[in-house]
């Protein structure tokens, strides 16, 4: 559905997007996951036709991204990061306004209903809550019944409840047969929503697979984390089952990626006993995209 080939964008001599290529299948939820400043928004905006790529090309539904721009815009719906709308127009007026820009438009009532904004039709945009505003932003992205929808960090800044309700909307858009392209820096969001995820860092796509596949690529399925005593020189890398050992970003916690949790834990406890090292904050969990990102870049996805 979307084909991206060797996209490059240079700002002030820096390649913010560096030869990015991938394909998005029809009807899937495709995620672009990466930290702030990884180049996600620039990549999306080049695909949407809002920015001219310095190199590379984009094809959407067989249409050339730079030569058939207006046809592309009829096919896609966009929600930009922190969408700004006219504060002094009502929800209904905004939908009618954006609907008028397209050849085809869905009925206002239907949109209000499906985005849970029925009671807000006559409310000014400035009086909407963050969640309502974001639902309106997505409503006007699908006002012309597009086949492809771009959502740039749709849940950033929303409270957990509003985030859940947005996730339901994304899944419903997919169930309606649309292709959804979303960017996020929440790994949980990518895991929950996306059929496939491209991990982006410093302008490059460093991994691309389904969330399960990415985790499988770690060749480990579990993570052991603990806080060793200060200045402990005990090594843990050679414990049974350990594939990878890393220190957390702040340098206090040890992160062990293992494919044999029981053996690793047994070895860890006896090693600690032998050396007289106290293990605090010991916990185990299954590996997540966060660990994939950590392993690939040596960095954490979200700060803190």
């Amino acid at each position: 559905m979307i084909r991206v080939q060797h996209l490059v964008k240079v700002y002030d001599g820096v390649k913010v997007v560096d030869r990015v290529s991938f394909e998005v299948e029809e009807g899937e939820v495709f995620g672009l996951l990466g930290p702030n400043g990884a180049g996600k928004t620039t990549t999306m905006e080049m695909i949407e036709g809002l920015r001219e790529p310095d190199e590379g090309r984009v094809t959407i539904d067989g249409l050339d991204g730079s030569r058939q721009r207006s046809a592309v815009k009829e096919t896609i719906g966009v929600q930009l990061q922190s969408t700004a709308l006219f504060d002094h127009l009502t929800v209904e007026e905004i939908i009618l306004l954006y609907g008028s820009f397209y050849r085809r438009m869905r009925p206002v009532k239907e949109l209000l209903r499906s985005f849970d904004l029925e009671g807000k039709a006559k409310t000014l945009v400035k009086h909407l809550s963050g969640g309502q505003r974001q639902r309106l932003a997505i409503a006007i992205a699908v006002v012309h019944d597009p086949r492809v929808i771009f959502l740039d960090e749709p849940t950033t800044g929303l409270d957990p409840k509003a985030r859940r309700s947005l996730w339901e909307i994304v899944l419903r858009l997919r169930d309606e047969g649309r292709t959804v392209f979303l960017s996020t820096h929440y790994m949980e969001e990518a895991e929950q929503l996306c059929d496939r995820v491209a991990i982006m860092d410093a302008g490059k796509v460093i991994a691309l697979d389904s969330p399960a596949g990415l985790i499988r690529q770690l060749a480990t399925d579990s993570v052991v984390e603990f806080l060793p005593e200060k200045d402990s020189t005990v090594g843990f890398r050679d414990l049974d089952g350990v594939k990878e050992m890393k220190w957390s970003e702040d340098g206090t916690a040890v992160v062990l990626l293992t494919d044999d949790l029981q053996a690793t834990l047994r070895g860890l406890i006896s090693r600690a006993d032998e050396q007289g090292v106290a293990l605090s904050g010991l916990r185990t969990r299954t590996a997540t995209l966060e660990d994939v990102f950590l392993k690939r870049t040596g960095k954490r996805l979200t700060e803190g």
């Binding site: 809002l50 009829e74 969408t83 127009l89 007026e93 008028s100």
Partner: protein
């Protein structure tokens, strides 16, 4: 077409819901007109009044007659005082001039200039106000001149007859109203467009529209239509108030007036778009627009005629559009001029429109970067 009407309608709704627009663009011009109209006197024309202090030291029959003449003269408010207190009043600005009728004036006149010195009347005035001193000294000289002539039984061989060439009773307010319309058209478009568009661009509202098939020409056309409607409405409101309060008439064609309002709106809007595109931030767009429009208020013939400006500024005045807009509006309203008579300002404005629209279209950006 659908998008064009929706955009126009949305912009009109935004105008109506924005208190600032209503206050600044509607009440301010009307208030300005009422304030200046009241201050400068209404349709009666030049209501010039001078406060004259007369110090009659002669106290003769002749001098009293002279004081009486002053009191009867049009535009003079006369009070009596002695020389020293009168001088104080002139210095403090409480009075405009002091006429001192020195002792021996009556004697000198009675003898038809045979006895005493001729220098019997002194005029004290503050020359820092050229208009007042000029008019004041002329009026006093005329009165004295008349008395001199009467005494000598002098009949001038040639007299000057003054004929008013304006067939219509025009006063300052008739001059002012077209000026206010012109000022309104400039600030509503140049300043408001620059600030609004720059802020929409900064907030990403324009970029969101760029994500749709909407073309920039449709967007701009919607803006133009809504603003022309707003300006037309404002002009109508100002003209109605001017008509009912000051009896100011539009002597020319309403269509021609509308044509010039349209021409001015488009020209200044284009300039507003240029500023919005060139300004780095929305915060700087408004001051840049102000920097351009503020001097235009003074050199645009809005509150006083362009010919009163120093000669040094004349080339500038001839180059910028505001004066031509003001002249055209004034021509249509006050003189009932036709488009043929106004072809010079109309073509200068047209040229400005073409140039600034071209630059505006060329520099227009949806996006910040």
């Amino acid at each position: 077409m659908k998008a064009y009407w929706r955009l126009t309608w949305a912009q009109l709704l935004l105008f109506a819901r924005n208190k600032n627009t209503v206050i600044w663009s509607l009440f301010l011009p009307i208030f300005m007109m009422l304030a200046l109209g009241t201050l400068m006197g209404d349709s009666g024309g030049t209501q010039f009044s001078l406060h004259v202090v007369v110090a009659d030291e002669d106290q003769s029959a002749v001098s009293r007659e002279l004081v009486k003449t002053f009191r009867e003269a049009e535009g003079l408010k006369v009070s009596a005082a002695d020389r020293d207190s009168g001088l104080k009043q002139v210095k403090s600005g409480d009075a405009d001039l002091l006429v001192q009728l020195k002792k021996g004036l009556g004697e000198r006149l009675a003898s038809s200039g045979e006895k005493g010195s001729p220098n019997r009347v002194a005029l004290y005035l503050d020359q820092t106000d050229p208009t007042v001193s000029e008019v004041g000294s002329t009026v006093v000289r005329q009165v004295i001149d008349r008395i001199n002539k009467e005494r000598l039984d002098y009949q001038p061989p040639v007299t000057v007859q003054e004929v008013n060439v304006q067939s219509r009773p025009l006063g300052y307010i008739d001059f002012l109203v077209p000026g206010i319309l012109s000022l309104m058209i400039m600030t509503n478009n140049l300043n408001a467009v620059a600030a609004t568009i720059a802020s929409w661009r900064e907030r990403g509202i324009l970029r969101r529209m760029q994500g749709t098939p909407l073309s920039s020409s449709t967007f701009i056309a919607g803006q133009i239509t809504a603003r022309v409607m707003l300006n037309g409405l404002q002009a109508l409101a100002v003209l109605l108030v001017a008509y009912f309060v000051y009896d100011v008439h539009v002597y020319g064609s309403w269509w021609l007036l509308l044509f010039f309002i349209l021409l001015g709106t488009l020209t200044f809007m284009s300039m507003g778009f240029i500023i919005a595109s060139l300004a780095k931030t929305p915060e700087s767009a408004a001051p840049i627009a102000g920097l351009i429009s503020f001097p235009m208020i003074f050199v645009g013939g809005i509150f006083f005629p362009v010919r009163d400006l120093p000669g040094l500024l004349q080339p500038l005045v001839k180059a910028i559009p505001i004066g031509y807009l003001t002249d055209s509006l004034r021509g249509v309203m006050n003189e009932g001029a036709s488009l043929v008579q106004l072809w010079v300002p109309a073509s200068v404005l047209g040229a400005w429109l073409i140039v600034s629209f071209t630059v505006a279209a060329w520099t227009f950006r949806w996006d910040v970067k």
